[in-house]
């Protein structure tokens, strides 16, 4: 098969259109560069009625939103999931890693919870605090100006609280707490756990004429048709195009590898067009990988040549190593004081929590390093598949019969509607070289591209943290006058610690550092081995922090892109 070459030489080829790739596209195009964006999935625009799931009613789905097709339910905006037909991944030594992929314009930003937390000063130098992992080659002061710019460009609500490791920013005002969140505030404070307005990227206030203001349907996971929440397509790629940028979108195109010349420098990428199943080549002066930490590592490892026999940028043998995801633990509580609620008002609010608790603990007195933040959910949400299951099981708390039939079930539904509160801990794990992804030499996907094989194990440090989550959540639920549901998961269940990958915060596979022997990229996310290849997803993260990674991906991608523009101007690339 002949490979079809495009004659045009782009200034930059951006692989992936999520947070990292989207931001790079915006910054590079705004600087006047010609940019090719290569995205593995289809075009997606939530303003287009044919793509919309927002404001649909459950009965518009024959399965009423059940998660049989899309893993987060029929109305979730994201295409893809834990398994994608024809695109497998494998595991080594019976270890577990669940890999969530969303192939579409905007990538996983169409899915995430919009929790937008800056890393703090300690997060970049945490080895100095507890000896675990590695320090970043950059500090908070390097990233702060970019966090500030991201806040203003994209919009995030929150409050300046002057916290030492949860920095202030340029926030829009937060929405008022919901009823169950007022209960949480009371319950958490009783255990001396501080609570603050959450920090999420929805526009509670206008930031420009192009994007709308939140209308409180609570459905950010369905993608906002007025662009009042952040996703990379609506807030980065489209604006880059609208302001006259030279952006060519290649959708449904799966990148196989970065191509190189005889000197080992990158010349562009080769990709497979899913529609005709043929292989193509694009030429570019710079290649910017933003395909997701694991997908970018896969592309690098598959880019073997005589100059780069171990894969591109992999002379250190560190590509794919230090893969880590956030820890996750959850508990649900039944709160009798939230029974018999009036349904006189709409409390959908923004899509997600209005309050949260950043990490408050003193690790020097605990049996694990690093912390977690607490996310809160509950309320009188829109019924979906699963609503009314085990409708009156809480009767057991009142000594009345469970089950039955007839009109009594109607009153049970209303009695318990909105009486559940869920708490989720999302925390920091330690990056380890033994947790990695690599190429599986014996498996290819339907595009003929060798797939990833994962090796990942939690340690007792993460298990101890998960145990702390469970104990804390049970205590808070009891403080709220409630009862935690189910049994507290024990040691045999890793204290409820979710499988690695499950929190969808994969980072670390192309970590940055000053030493080319122990890192893949430098502090500008440029490969040590090849100066015209950059990684702008979460691959270059040295550590995860107890924060969601998106805001930091955005800030660092902007920073790396500024550097690319500067280096191109100086003709260093």
């Amino acid at each position: 098969m002949q490979i079809i070459e495009n004659a045009k030489v782009y200034d930059a080829i951006v692989v992936g259109s999520g947070a990292g790739g989207g931001m790079a596209t915006k910054v590079l195009a705004d600087a006047g560069l010609s940019v090719a964006v290569v995205e593995a999935g289809p075009f997606f625009d939530p303003a287009d009625p044919k793509h919309q799931t927002q404001l649909k009613w459950p009965w518009e789905s024959p399965r009423r939103g059940a998660p049989t097709v899309r893993p987060f339910g029929d109305f979730d905006a994201a295409y893809g999931g834990w398994e994608i037909e024809g695109e497998p991944y494998t595991h080594k030594d019976g270890t577990k890693f669940d890999w969530y992929r969303s192939h579409m314009l905007g990538g996983r930003t169409n899915h995430w919870g919009r929790i937008s937390l800056r890393f703090g000063p300690k997060d970049f130098k945490h080895k100095n605090v507890d000896g675990y992992g590695e320090n970043w080659p950059i500090g908070y002061e390097d990233v702060k100006p970019y966090y500030d710019k991201v806040d203003k460009l994209i919009g995030v609500f929150g409050t300046n609280e002057g916290l030492p490791n949860d920095p202030d920013g340029f926030f829009l005002p937060p929405p008022k707490p919901r009823l169950h969140e007022l209960f949480y505030i009371r319950g958490a404070r009783k255990s001396k756990i501080p609570v603050y307005p959450s920090r999420m990227s929805m526009l509670t206030k206008r930031i420009n004429k192009e994007r709308g203001v939140c209308f409180y349907c609570g459905q950010c996971s369905r993608a906002c048709q007025v662009y009042a929440d952040f996703s990379a397509g609506t807030c980065l790629i489209f604006p880059a195009q609208k302001s006259g940028g030279q952006v060519d979108l290649f959708v449904n195109c799966v990148v196989r590898e970065v191509t190189t010349d005889n000197e080992g420098r990158a010349t562009g990428v080769s990709y497979i067009n899913k529609e005709d199943r043929k292989e193509y080549k694009l030429k570019g002066r710079v290649v910017v990988l933003g395909a997701s930490a694991c997908s970018s590592a896969r592309i690098l490892l598959n880019s073997k040549s005589s100059q780069h026999p171990n894969g591109l940028g992999n002379s250190s043998d560190h590509v794919g190593k230090y893969l880590h995801d956030s820890t996750g633990g959850d508990r649900v509580g039944f709160i009798p004081d939230l029974m018999n609620r009036k349904v006189s008002y709409n409390e959908d609010g923004v899509g997600g929590m209005h309050v949260y608790s950043p990490w408050w603990g003193d690790n020097s007195k605990l049996n694990f390093p690093r912390g977690y933040h607490i996310e809160i959910w509950g309320g009188m949400g829109m019924p979906n598949y699963g609503f009314g299951f085990n409708v009156n099981e809480f009767n057991k708390f009142f000594g009345t019969k469970v089950g039955g039939y007839g009109d009594v079930l109607r009153s049970d539904v209303k009695k318990y509607y909105g009486a559940l509160v869920g708490l989720s801990g999302r925390g920091e794990s330690i990056a380890r070289k033994e947790n990695y992804c690599e190429i599986d030499p014996s498996t290819v996907d339907q595009w003929g591209i060798p797939v990833l094989r994962f090796h990942y194990k939690w340690s007792d440090l993460e298990r101890n943290q998960a145990k702390h989550m469970q104990e804390t959540f049970a205590e808070i639920i009891q403080n709220m006058g409630g009862t935690p549901l189910g049994d507290m998961p024990g040691r045999d269940q890793d204290y409820g610690l979710q499988n690695p990958g499950r929190i969808i915060h994969e980072v670390g596979t192309t970590r940055m550092g000053d030493d080319p022997k122990t890192s893949v990229t430098n502090k500008f996310q440029q490969l040590h081995d090849v100066d015209n290849v950059f990684v702008v997803d979460a691959g270059p993260f040295v550590s995860q922090a107890d924060k969601n990674c998106t805001w930091t991906i955005l800030a660092l991608s902007w920073r790396a892109s500024d550097y690319i523009v500067d280096q191109l101007k100086k003709q260093n690339l």
Binding site: E83, F171, L182, T204, D348, Y405
Partner: protein
């Protein structure tokens, strides 16, 4: 993941799940169809749309089973002057779709229906649908209640059958238009959130703190473009 577990986790509101999703390769013709059907196909990809259509085309339950389901569902949520019934919300049709969407439920439901007719035949000499309501209820009373402290796997099959049917009936009804109207859910429409109403706060014994409210959005200024001073203080 075991589907039963996935149903359980749904009850707990967890977002865990995990089935394959097909890739997306839109052809022009398919895309046009999607545009035409956008209103009824709620943002489906062409592959998802095809899957829905295939499932709609098949028929799992036979006529007798559908008739039995109709009566059972209306026992669970009967109609009256005050309330619409499960049949009014077309719950049996929803269940028919779901057993094709989640085939693991098929044996439990179909087997349960057979068990029910067997019981009725043995005791009253007639199938369930031919019995007068009093006798139908007599049978249901024996399988409608369960002890939640006994794990589901250890409960009698007939009890689990009826629990599943009750779950599907409740969920089918309260995700329908008439069910949501009965529930009184007020959301899923553009609005401006400005906090919990005073009477609700009072009912539940909580209050907003002035200090917290002072940080929150002044909704009268939501359309004024945000500007900050250099310290990050909002000035508009």
């Amino acid at each position: 993941m075991d589907r039963r577990k996935s149903i359980k986790s749904l009850v707990l509101g967890s977002v865990a799940g995990g089935l394959a999703l097909h890739g997306c390769k839109p052809g022009d013709e398919q895309m046009e169809q999607v545009v035409e059907q956008a209103e009824v196909f709620y943002g489906r990809t062409p592959e998802e749309r095809e899957l829905d259509a295939e499932l709609q085309k098949e028929q799992f339950f036979n006529i007798h089973e559908m008739a039995t389901l109709a009566i059972l569902c209306d026992c669970i949520l009967p109609g009256s002057e005050e309330y619409k019934s499960a049949m009014d919300a077309e719950v049996p049709n929803f269940i028919e779709f779901m057993v094709k969407d989640i085939p693991e439920m098929q044996v439990n439901l179909r087997g349960g229906l057979m068990w029910l007719d067997h019981q009725c035949n043995a005791r009253f000499g007639a199938e369930f649908i031919s019995l007068e309501q009093e006798k139908q209820h007599e049978i249901l009373d024996e399988i409608a209640y369960y002890d939640p402290d006994i794990p589901e796997e250890e409960r009698p099959a007939a009890v689990n059958f009826f629990s599943l049917l009750r779950n599907l009936t409740l969920t089918g009804f309260y995700t329908s238009k008439i069910g949501i109207e009965e529930l009184g859910y007020k959301g899923n429409m553009p609005n401006v959130w400005d906090g919990v109403p005073e009477d609700v706060l009072k009912q539940h014994g909580v209050a907003y703190e002035e200090e917290w409210l002072a940080k929150c959005i002044d909704q009268s200024k939501r359309n004024i473009v945000a500007k900050w001073d250099d310290e990050g203080n909002l000035i508009t």
